[in-house]
Amino acid sequence: MSKELLRLENVSKSFGGIRALNNVNLIIKEGEKLAIIGPNGAGKTTLFNAISGVFDLDSGRIFYLGRDITKLPPFKRKYLGISRAFQIPRPFAGMTVLDNVVVGALFSRDIKDIKEARNRAEEILSLVGLHNKRDELAVNLTSPEKKLLELARALAPRPRLLLLDEIVAGIPPAEVDKIMSLVVKISEQENISVVALVEHVMRVLRYVERAIFLHEGRVMMDDTPDKVLNSEVVKDIYLGKVYE
């Protein structure tokens, strides 16, 4: 029986009259892998932002490992183990690849000092295949390499919850498989729950056990990927917008 990792209770958020999140209830358990899907404007990114702590909620609460984190600032949540890889990578351009990952590792409850952070950074970079570039300045990396760096930075602090924000958007299918297998392998090794935000690349759903369909800020479906993708509701809304 897995422990409950993250719980959203009646979470709502509006932006100037538009309800981005409408009474969202969600429970994520330890070690789960799931995808959040939905059309443009469904509220996926807002959901991630709510979990990250980027803004205050209009209503509702968020619990992490039983603790109410609704009011905690983003850096604290990261410290506790909620890590996020952003859609548009924002590495520290003037720092080396290694240092970028060290920063990710250093500010975590599980990692005690710079030496440990360094070792962890090297370990992660090897896992994602960027170890040979570790002394390069982040600004000099290619686009796919920057995505890998983003992933490495997010994995470095030994998180419990990993939020992948459109990590594989705009990448050829072979690369998608490569990255997603990597994510699955590492998350199983280190017992990380993974939530992947997906708008178009449905291939990702092959790698998760659960899919949540978000539409207009509401959770419309929460089931296995097969059931969700084949449901009438999803087909109606997504018709013509899905591609493999």
Partner: protein, 332 residues
């Protein structure tokens, strides 16, 4: 402890000590090196905050002046009794009071300002000089517009020879000590977790925040440390000058010179202000001899040119040019 790992700091210490010995050994250099020590120390203190966070604190002069007033007032008070305490104790108290006053002011102002974005932070700190100056002139505390003079107090409490020794020799050693403590602080910060956080903050504050860096707390920590050191530097300067008058104490030239030296040498580096200070000191000496009173007129355009063309400074440029080599690791 691994000595080799810290060799760059040790080399810097040795170079600095050499300068100190030159000053002691060659009396002709005393005047120049004395002023130089102060400017290098001020620039290092300035650099500790602005170099590591890239936030401009225009209010350094206020902290130094506060240290001067606090230290001076302490000395005056302690020497006003019929049997004055030993000199060492008086000076120690002066430094302590100066540091504490600066620390309190830094906490008060810093707690409000470090939450703010760059421009707002600049606004909060630019007003600091004016604010403190007007407070002193307006309320008349610590001598108000007439200033604070402790020369007579010192001469009467101790003899004249001691007075000369304290103001012309000891003061410089004390200022050197503040400098040494400052570069040690910068070095320790750079090599620590705080240093990593600040490096990330410099690159991209928002991203750093998301990555787990408590940006507000880190900015506040370096702000308070550097302000406290500035206050102590002020105490040292007071002991040297034995007098302070509001117009000179709050002169904007200090701010400009600290910025020039730091940028010339290289913001965020430990060796930068030393190299910048040496070059600037020599230039200033030459300029003062040939064109007295015109330093700022020449400095301001030089600073503008540096902003546009040479923002990394000498050490900064060298480090980028020789990235990954021994030179980079030596020029911390």
């Amino acid at each position: 402890m691994d000595i080799r790992a810290h060799r760059s700091l040790i080399i810097l210490f040795l170079v600095s000590l050499t300068l100190l010995f030159v000053r002691v050994g060659i009396p002709e250099t005393r005047q120049v090196l004395s002023i130089l020590f102060f400017y290098i120390a001020l620039s290092e203190v300035f650099n500790l905050f602005t170099g590591l966070t890239l936030y401009v604190c225009f209010g350094y002069v206020a902290f130094v002046a506060l240290g001067m007033y606090g230290g001076g007032a302490t000395i005056k008070y302690l020497l006003s009794t019929s049997s004055p305490p030993p000199l060492a104790l008086v000076l120690a108290c002066a430094f302590a009071v100066a540091g504490i006053l600066a620390l309190i002011l830094a906490l008060a102002v810093g707690w409000i300002s470090v939450r703010l974005k760059g421009a707002y932070f600049a606004i909060a700190t630019i007003g600091l000089n004016e604010g403190l100056k007007n407070l002193i002139e307006g309320t008349g505390i610590w001598g108000g517009s007439s200033g604070l003079v402790i020369a007579n107090d010192l001469i009467q409490a101790y003899n004249y020879d001691t007075f000369i020794f304290v103001t012309s020799e000891l003061a410089d050693y004390l200022i050197f000590t503040v400098y040494a403590v400052t570069i040690l602080c910068i070095y320790l910060v750079i090599k620590s977790r705080l240093g990593y956080g600040l490096a990330a903050l410099r690159e991209d504050e928002e991203a750093a925040n998301v990555m787990g860096v408590n940006v507000v707390r880190y900015k506040l920590i370096v702000f308070v440390i550097s302000a406290t050191l500035a206050g102590m530097l002020g105490a040292g300067k007071m002991i040297k000058d034995v007098a302070i008058y509001p117009p000179q104490a709050f002169a904007v030239s200090y701010t400009v010179e600290a910025i020039v030296i730091s940028m010339l040498g290289g913001l965020g580096t430990v060796t930068g202000p030393v190299i910048g200070g040496l070059i600037y000191g020599i230039l200033k000496y030459v300029l003062t001899v040939s064109f007295p009173g015109l330093q700022l007129l020449a400095l301001a355009p030089a600073l503008m040119a540096m902003c546009v063309m040479f923002p990394y400074g000498i050490v900064g440029w060298l480090r980028r040019r020789f990235k990954g080599s021994k030179i980079e690791s030596l020029l911390i």
